[in-house]
C-alpha cells in the first residue's frame, strides 16, 4: 500500500460555525480501494467533515487533495465530475420522478453526451439491477418504501461511477434484513470504488471497514483497524463504552 498514491488527503482541516468548532484540525489519508468508516458520537463533526470533502460546506482553513489534486476551493458539482459521489444522510431523491429518471440523471452525467438513448437505458437498468430495483423502474420514486428509497439513493451514487463514494448513515432506518443485504452491496461496491462510510451501527462498521477513524469534538480521537479501535481505551471511554442508541 505504501507505494500507492493516496486517493484522499485531508490536511489540518478546520470549519467553525460561529463559535462552534465543528471540524477542528482533522488530518485524514484514505488509500484507493479502502473502506473507511468514520464514527463518533453525535455532534462529533462527521457530517461536516464529509460535507467539506464533497464540497457542500466550505472550510475555514486547511486543504483537501483528491488523487493528488487540490480540490479545496472547487465547487461541489465539479468535485462530482472528479469522482466524488455523496449520498445524503436524509434520503434525497426526486420523489415526483420515476425511479428510472432518478438514475438516468447520474447516468447521463457519467456518460458522454453523444451516447444514445439505448446506452442510457442500459446504464440505468444495470444500476437498478445492482441494487435490486429494476422491476420498479416506472414507479414514482416517492412511492417506494423507505428502504427502497435508500437503495435508490445508493444506485444514484453508484451511477456516477465514483472513485470515492461517501455514504452518510446509509443504514439509518433500515430493518435488520435490509441491513444484511446492504452490507453485501457495499462489499460489492468496494471492489471498484473507495468507500467512506459514516455509520452508527457498530456491527455494520466492524464487518465492512478496513480502517476506522473516530471523531470526537471535531478532532480525530483515534484511527486504526477495527481490532485496534475495539481495543483502544480512549475510544472505549468516549464512544463504545457508553450505550449508544441513536
Amino acid at each position: 500500500m505504501a507505494a500507492v498514491t493516496p486517493l484522499l488527503v485531508v490536511d489540518d482541516l478546520h470549519r467553525s460555525f460561529g463559535g462552534l468548532k465543528a471540524v477542528d484540525g482533522v488530518d485524514l489519508t484514505v488509500m484507493p480501494g479502502e473502506v473507511r468508516a468514520i464514527i463518533g458520537p453525535n455532534g462529533a463533526g462527521k457530517s461536516t467533515l464529509v460535507g467539506l470533502i464533497c464540497g457542500r460546506v466550505e472550510p475555514s482553513s486547511g486543504s483537501i487533495l483528491f488523487d493528488g489534486r487540490d480540490i479545496t476551493s472547487m465547487p461541489a458539482h465539479r468535485r462530482v465530475r472528479q469522482g466524488i459521489a455523496y449520498t445524503f444522510q436524509i434520503t434525497s431523491i426526486f420523489p415526483n420522478l420515476t425511479v428510472f429518471d432518478n438514475v438516468a440523471l447520474p447516468v447521463q452525467r457519467s456518460q458522454h453526451h453523444a451516447v444514445g438513448a439505448a446506452r442510457l437505458r442500459a446504464g440505468v437498468m444495470e444500476a437498478l439491477e445492482r441494487v435490486g430495483l429494476s422491476d420498479r423502474a416506472d414507479q414514482p420514486a416517492g412511492e417506494l418504501a423507505y428502504g427502497h428509497q435508500r437503495l435508490l439513493e445508493v444506485a444514484m451514487g453508484l451511477s456516477l461511477k465514483p472513485r470515492l463514494l461517501i455514504l452518510d448513515e446509509p443504514t439509518q432506518g433500515l430493518s435488520d434484513g435490509e441491513i444484511e443485504g446492504f452490507i453485501g452491496l457495499v462489499r460489492e461496491i468496494a471492489r471498484d470504488a473507495t468507500v467512506m462510510l459514516i455509520e452508527h451501527n457498530m456491527a455494520v462498521v466492524m464487518s465492512l471497514a478496513h480502517r476506522i477513524t473516530v471523531l470526537s469534538s471535531g478532532k480525530v480521537l483515534a484511527e486504526g483497524t477495527p481490532e485496534e479501535i475495539r481495543a483502544d481505551a480512549h475510544v472505549q471511554a468516549a464512544y463504545l463504552g457508553t450505550p449508544d442508541d441513536d
Binding site: 464533497c54 457542500r56 465547487p75 461541489a76 458539482h77 465539479r78 462530482v80 465530475r81 459521489a85 455523496y86 445524503f88 434525497s92 431523491i93 426526486f94 420523489p95 415526483n96 420522478l97 420515476t98 425511479v99 428510472f100 429518471d101 438516468a104 440523471l105 447520474p106 447521463q108 452525467r109 453526451h113 442510457l120 437505458r121 440505468v124 423502474a137 416506472d138 444514484m156 456516477l160
Partner: protein, 332 residues
C-alpha cells in the same frame, strides 16, 4: 416526463403534436374571419406562454417579469422598423436578440436569488423596463403606442412576397412560429437537458450533488425562455402592427403565468390550450358582464383574477396536468 417511453408512447406523442399542428393548419380554411384573427393571435401569445413554461413549468422558477422579454422582442423589432426603416426580417432577428441578451443579463443577476426573492427581483427588473418604455416616450409614445404601416410590414425577398396585413399570411406565419415553438419545447422536455431542468425544479441540492452545474442550467433555461418570449413579441409587432407600453406592464407578466397554469405547467400542450381557453373565457364573460351591467365599466382583469383563484383552488395541475395525472401518463 415519464421514465422511458415505449415505442408506442413515442408514436402517440409525435402523433398528438403533429395532429394539433395539422389541425391548426387546416383551421384557416374553415374559420370565419373573426375567429381566424383570434386563433392567429392566440398562436402568437401561446408561443409566449410556451417560452414562459420552459422556465416556470420545467425549471420551477416563477418569474413575475416576463413582460420585459416579450416587450424587448416587440420594441426590439418594431422601433428599428418605425424609426429607421429597417427591413422587417433583420428587425425580427434584432427583436429576438434583444430579448435573449436581456434574459441573459437579468438571469445572471436574478438567479443569485431563489424562491420569493427571484419573483421580486424579476418583477422589479420588469418594472424598470416598463418605466423605460414610458420614459422614452419620444421614441415609443408610451401607452398610446406606435402603429406600423402596411408598407413597413411587407417582406419581399425575390419571389417571396409576405404581406403581414393580409389575413391568410398572418395566420400562416403565426402557425409556423407556433409549430416551431411547440417542436422546441417538445424536444427540450424529452431531452437530457430537460431532465436536468426538472431535476433542479424537484430537488436542486440533489441535482448539484449529482454533478450538474445548476446555475448554468438555470441560466440556459432563462435565456431560452426569454428568447422564445421575445420571438413572440417580435412576431406580434410584425403581424398585428402595434407596439405599446401595455405589453411591458405587469399584466403581460401575469397573463403567461395564468395561461400556463390553466393549460398545465410542465406540459407541452398546456400553454396553447390555456391561452385559447383564457381568451374565449375572458371575452365571453366580458361581453356578458357588460351586457348585464352596462355602466359598471368592468374589464377582463377582474375575470383573470377570479379565474386564477378558482384554478389554484380546484385545478392546481391545470388542464393537461390533470389529464396526464389521471389518464395519459405518457404526455410530455
Amino acid at each position: 416526463m415519464s421514465g422511458h417511453l415505449t415505442a408506442r408512447d413515442d408514436a402517440r406523442v409525435w402523433g398528438l403534436h403533429f395532429g394539433l399542428i395539422a389541425l391548426l393548419f387546416a383551421a384557416q380554411y374553415v374559420l370565419p374571419d373573426y375567429h381566424n384573427g383570434v386563433i392567429a393571435r392566440v398562436m402568437v401569445l401561446a408561443l409566449f406562454a410556451m417560452g414562459y413554461n420552459v422556465l416556470f413549468g420545467y425549471t420551477g422558477l416563477l418569474s413575475l417579469g416576463h413582460s420585459m422579454f416579450f416587450a424587448a422582442g416587440l420594441y426590439g423589432a418594431g422601433l428599428p422598423i418605425y424609426h429607421f426603416g429597417v427591413h422587417p426580417l433583420p428587425a425580427f432577428a434584432i427583436g429576438i436578440g434583444c430579448g435573449t441578451a436581456l434574459a441573459l443579463l437579468v438571469g445572471a443577476l436574478a438567479l443569485r436569488t431563489t424562491g420569493v426573492a427571484f419573483m421580486i427581483v424579476t418583477l422589479m427588473f420588469a418594472q424598470v423596463a416598463y418605466l423605460m418604455s414610458l420614459w422614452l416616450g419620444e421614441w415609443t409614445r408610451g401607452d398610446e403606442g406606435l402603429t406600423l404601416s402596411r408598407a413597413e410590414r411587407i417582406i419581399e425577398i425575390g419571389p417571396m412576397f409576405l404581406d403581414m396585413t393580409n389575413r391568410d399570411t398572418r395566420y400562416i406565419i403565426a402557425w409556423a412560429l407556433f409549430a416551431l415553438g411547440l417542436g422546441i419545447t417538445l424536444l427540450i422536455a424529452r431531452s437530457r437537458f430537460g431532465r436536468v431542468l426538472v431535476a433542479i425544479r424537484e430537488n436542486e441540492e440533489r441535482a448539484r450533488m449529482l454533478g450538474f452545474d445548476t446555475f448554468a442550467n438555470k441560466l440556459a433555461s432563462v435565456a431560452i425562455s426569454g428568447a422564445i418570449s421575445a420571438t413572440a413579441g417580435a412576431a406580434y409587432v410584425l403581424l398585428f402592427g402595434y407596439m405599446g407600453s401595455t405589453f411591458a406592464s405587469i399584466q403581460y407578466s401575469i397573463l403567461p403565468l395564468l395561461w400556463v397554469l390553466l393549460g398545465g405547467a410542465a406540459t407541452t400542450l398546456g400553454p396553447f390550450f390555456g391561452t385559447l381557453l383564457m381568451f374565449y373565457l375572458a371575452e365571453m364573460s366580458n361581453d356578458a358582464l357588460n351586457a348585464w351591467f352596462p355602466d359598471a365599466r368592468l374589464n377582463q382583469i377582474g375575470i383573470v383574477g377570479v379565474a386564477l383563484i378558482l384554478l389554484v383552488l380546484f385545478f392546481p395541475k391545470g388542464l393537461f396536468g390533470s389529464i396526464r395525472e389521471r389518464w395519459l401518463k405518457w404526455l410530455p
